[in-house]
Assembly symmetry: C2
Homo-oligomer: 217 residues x 2
């Protein structure tokens, strides 16, 4: 359980509810039951009710939830209104992909500067965001009060980059580099671990193979 009484798992499911609810045809006054949401997202219905109860007061017995209220409460809880400014380090393929990917603006994330050490890029801009030399990152973060850093540099450069971010006052690092980073207490490192996901996929295949012809369960 995190501070504030909401579990990590619940928190991670909230954006999924929101995306689903927003994908529904926006009829005025439209309602939906927890069971319908659960069926659409392959979740338990009690779990859906518990998750929603944590962020919304909306549910009405016999009727369900007013979709528009739920969307409003989820967006408010997740802070999709308030913009979090972020910097990104490492303007390679992955960095560029993230900048163009689905508009993080929808999620309240605003990438305001990107940093790299390839001289050729300096002074240029990507999607209207300036590209600056990494040496200036700490100073930039401090003076602009940036609190989120996104790391898409190679593994070998990641810890150094993270340290520079921490010195600049950054409190949350989204790490795409394939290494474990250490950071002082109070700084959250959220790792996007591609290798972990891949491990699940390939283990599943191995099991399915060996499990045949019996049910793969």
């Amino acid at each position: 359980m995190l501070t504030g009484g909401i579990s990590k798992q619940t928190l991670q499911r909230l954006p999924t509810y929101l995306t689903y609810l927003k994908s529904l045809a926006p009829e005025k006054g439209r309602t939906i039951s927890a069971s319908a949401i659960a069926a659409a997202l392959d979740l338990g219905e009690v779990q859906v009710r518990k998750d929603l109860a944590a962020v919304s007061v909306a549910g009405k017995p016999k009727i369900g939830y007013l979709v528009s209220d739920l969307v409003r409460d989820l967006e408010h809880f997740l802070g999709y209104g308030t913009c979090n400014r972020a910097v990104l380090a490492g303007v390679g393929n992955l960095g560029l992909a993230l900048m163009s990917y689905g508009g993080f603006a929808d999620y309240g994330l605003d990438i305001v500067a990107v940093f790299d050490n390839k001289g050729a890029l300096m002074g240029s801009s990507v999607d209207g965001v300036p590209v600056l030399p990494v040496e200036r990152m700490t100073e930039y973060c401090r003076s602009e009060h940036i609190r989120i850093g996104i790391l898409t540099v190679p593994a070998a450069a990641a810890q150094g980059c993270a340290d520079a971010m921490v010195r600049g006052g950054i409190k949350a690092i989204w790490n795409f580099a394939p290494v474990h980073l250490s950071a002082p207490p109070g700084v959250l490192v959220q790792r996007e671990n591609m290798a972990s996901s891949l491990a699940l996929l390939s283990y599943h295949l191995k099991q399915a193979e060996q499990g045949l012809p019996g049910e793969a369960k």
Copy 2:
């Protein structure tokens, strides 16, 4: 617990151990203790021992683990030797990023064809991998016995693409599109959920803010 007696969490940690062990200077006969690994990766030492015991016979009291044995056992368990051929659908920024990202070949993944519906791309190739029209994906997967599909198409196209993959006999889908996908039993959908990660980051910031000036914990 998955089939085969290893928990999902353990499985997800294994690649992290492997990456860490490989990052060590490769001295012949080098050993390492569970406590040292735990300290380096911010894990509990009992957890490390339990995880390693699930995949390796290597540990010796008073001495620790022989790094080279551990690397060998982890690679074997994770199937990094045996190549899993995969197709990727959606040659946008993210698709390109994944193809160039850190060489998935190291993880036993081999992207052998990519699919898109932008006419301009047809017949061309990316990193030596041919770009084909999506209409041919099902047939291609079936005839080439592909079992892994990577989805980097826009949300609106994702379910249709996944269905085409399933018809082609694919058994594991790595989904980067921001939607929940449904798939028949026996087909694993592993979602890379960027919005979930962002939710953790921004919640952490919100808490840190409100928690001040007290300790953020």
